[in-house]
Amino acid sequence: MSDLLLDAQQLVKRFGPRTAVDGVSFSLRRGEAVGLLGPNGAGKTTTISMLSGLLLPDGGEVRLGGQPITGDTDPRKRLLGLVPQELALYEELTARDNLEFFGALYDLAGAALATAAESALKFVGLAERRGDKVKTFSGGMKRRLNLAVALLHDPELLLLDEPTVGVDPQSRNAIFDNVEELRRRGKTILYTTHYMEEVERLCDRVIIMDHGRVVADDTLSGLKQRRTHADRVFCELVEVRDGGWLAGLEGIAGISRAELAGTRLTLHVTDLHGGLSRALEHLRRVDVVVASVESQSPSLEDIFLELTGRSLRDG
């Protein structure tokens, strides 16, 4: 059995004049957890749709276990568990009825179906509510059920499209714990999210998409090492004085930029050791008294911003 579970090559998808996905390639190894990040409209959902056979690519190819998915009834689809971005549940039915319906689509029946439904309910912590209609559920509970539905047929690969979107922190944690547990059980996971901390906690690797292309595909540490970004040092000043001292700072080797907002001075430091001590020396010479110094290294968030020019979440 090959190590490669899923392999996408040069995927292209156009909607009318708009190219939503423009030559995306990546692969997932068995047991790997990979984060798929990108701003709104980057093409994440479209990519996942092509991976799961919902959309035919206009170009490129998806191979699952070494073979392309052919046709709607390809049994290979059983390898996949899709958690759609939108809730896809029948509100008027009970949690159990929902699970039994979707399970039957995977040809589960009888005792096997009952067991699968029950264990999925337990897994997401909804066993108590199995007989309640979904419309009586909270948003977070619906999200958990949305996840449970994808687990019924015990798929090897889980495609999770923003499974924690729009839920309270408590449910988010619960869902996230579930996904971590799935990972421990050896499932291969492609995890789309707008929350960087989820990726940092869960994933070995991150794929960043923007405008339909992959702009980065690397491990977390690999990504952090790429930093072209400067560290930032925040200095709290005792009092603010006029003078050319601010411009003088930017002339110092190791300092790329200096900004003053109120009594807060922000230094963009390219050489933390030499640059920072030279800057502090300069401030002392011009009699600017520094009350405190605080430094911050670039986060994934910053890297994302730098790669895409947009922040991970709008606003």
Binding site: F15, S49, S52, G53, L54, L55, G71, D72, T73, D74, P75, K77, R78, L80, L82, P84, Q85, E86, L87, A88, Y90, E92, L93, D97, E100, F101, F102, A104, L105, Y106, D107, A109, K133, V149
Partner: protein, 441 residues
């Protein structure tokens, strides 16, 4: 197969949870059909027109003949007559208080009989009518002829009138050039003998006793008969009961709401397509064909439940009976349900957005219902529409149900409509198969 059953079970469960759908498919059609059945049914033995059609009569002549016309209408239970003047009549018709008014002009009595022979002397009866009430107009126009003839015959045929008629005929004879002298002579002598006879009858009714006869009682008038009498015989091939107007009303109304509800459900399918639901369905190893077949069958079952439920109600409460073939009736119900489901899906397959499909779909369904005769009998419609009705599936569905219920026809009478409905089902299924898109792209 497992998938198919799951799809059907799903829709039935959803249907049972949907209170609105239940109301639309059971309560509303039963209520409306009960109402329409009671309006159009003859089963009570009462006049089908209920209180009678209110019409206005304006008598500007006040002759015996014009009074005879007024009396003829007034004594007919089909009408509720109000006599008034022309201005008031115009006003009431204009304001929609009455569908129409008949104005009998001055000189009507004197001219009515000569008008039969002399185109220059025809009296003009004005018919003022509400343009939205053409049905009443046709009805009154139809009734006018026998009533006027009756009135003229009773009151207008007198010896004097006859002699006047002969005089004018002889004058015309003098001017006639193309008639040979011998024939002229024969005709003249015949007419003169007739005039002699009439002269003996002056002041008497034509064939009766003398007017104002000895005892002073009005003479028994000569009554010109119509050349026929009518005897109504309702033709229903059913030995057990009689025509039950509820049968057609229930067929029409339940079909209407089945079509509407199944259209609504098909539109729901389009909505699902736009939501994440279809992504989930399609992520499973499920074929488009299985999905569509599952939807078609579950919709048909829902339709069948509704049609069956409504008919069951009509049987229990209104005594509707399957006077024809029971197997034929059940077959027609099944085919009607399948046809309705296929139509809903075909409309959804042709539509793009849910909202647009809904709008166009409702228009199509209403048109099919109207042309197909679910609301009013098709004979009221213009002829081209009646021909058009033959290509509507609704017409065949309703005909087949009528045939098996109150018409009391046998199983073989169901086969024609069943064949046509099968054709429609095949057509709609093909459209659905070719045009239904999986994705909302």
């Amino acid at each position: 197969m497992r998938q198919l059953l799951a799809l059907i079970r799903l829709d039935l469960k959803l249907f049972l949870c949907d209170r609105r759908a239940l109301i639309m498919l059971f309560i509303v059609p039963i209520g409306l059909a009960s109402f329409m059945g009671s309006v159009f049914s003859n089963s009570g033995g009462k006049s089908s027109v209920g209180g009678g059609m209110g019409i206005l009569l304006v008598d500007q002549d006040e002759s015996a003949v014009s009074r005879g016309v007024v009396d003829a209408f007034a004594s007919d239970p089909t009408f509720r007559v109000t006599v008034t003047n022309e201005a008031a009549a115009r006003d009431m018709v204009l304001n929609g208080k009455r569908p129409l008014a008949l104005v009998l002009p001055a000189g009507f009595g004197a001219d009515a009989l000569p008008g039969l022979f002399d185109t220059n002397r025809k009296p003009v009866i004005t018919l003022l009518h509400d343009p939205s009430r053409n049905m009443e107009r046709s009805m009154v126009e139809g009734m006018l002829v026998p009533k006027v003839i009756q009135a003229v015959a009773q009151n207008g045929l007198s010896a004097d009138l006859g002699r006047d008629f002969i005089r004018r005929g002889l004058t015309n004879l003098d001017r006639a050039t193309q008639v040979g002298a011998h024939e002229q002579q024969l005709y003249r002598s015949m007419m003169e003998r007739a005039d002699e006879f009439l002269a003996t009858r002056t002041n008497r009714s034509l064939f009766g006793s003398a007017k104002g006869s000895t005892n002073g009682a009005p003479a028994k008038e000569f009554n010109l008969p119509l050349p026929f009498v009518t005897k109504a015989e309702a033709l229903v091939k059913n030995t057990k009961g009689e025509y039950n107007g509820y049968a057609h009303a229930f067929a029409g109304m339940s079909l209407q709401f089945v079509l509407m509800s199944l259209l609504e459900m098909s539109v729901g399918l389009l909505r699902e397509r736009e939501s994440g639901m279809f992504r989930r369905l399609r992520a499973a190893p499920l074929s488009r064909g299985t999905l569509l077949l599952g939807k078609g069958l579950s919709y048909a079952i829902i339709g069948l439940l509704s049609l069956g439920g409504c008919f069951a109600f009509s049987m229990v409460v209104f005594g509707v009976r399957i006077n024809g073939s029971w197997p034929g009736f059940l077959l027609c119900l099944v085919l009607t349900s399948l046809m309705s489901a296929a139509l809903g899906l075909a409309l959804a397959a042709l539509g793009r957005t849910p909202a647009g499909t809904r709008g166009i779909g409702i228009a199509v369904v209403l048109l099919l219902l109207m042309v197909g005769g679910a609301w009013v009998p098709t004979f009221i419609l213009p002829r081209w529409l009646q021909s058009a009705a033959l290509v509507t599936p609704t017409r065949w569905a309703l005909d087949s149900l009528d045939a098996m219920t109150w018409r009391g026809l046998g199983f073989e009478a169901a086969l024609g409509p069943v064949g046509v409905m099968l054709g429609f089902i095949a057509l709609f299924a093909t459209i659905t198969w070719l045009r239904f898109r999986w994705t909302a792209e």
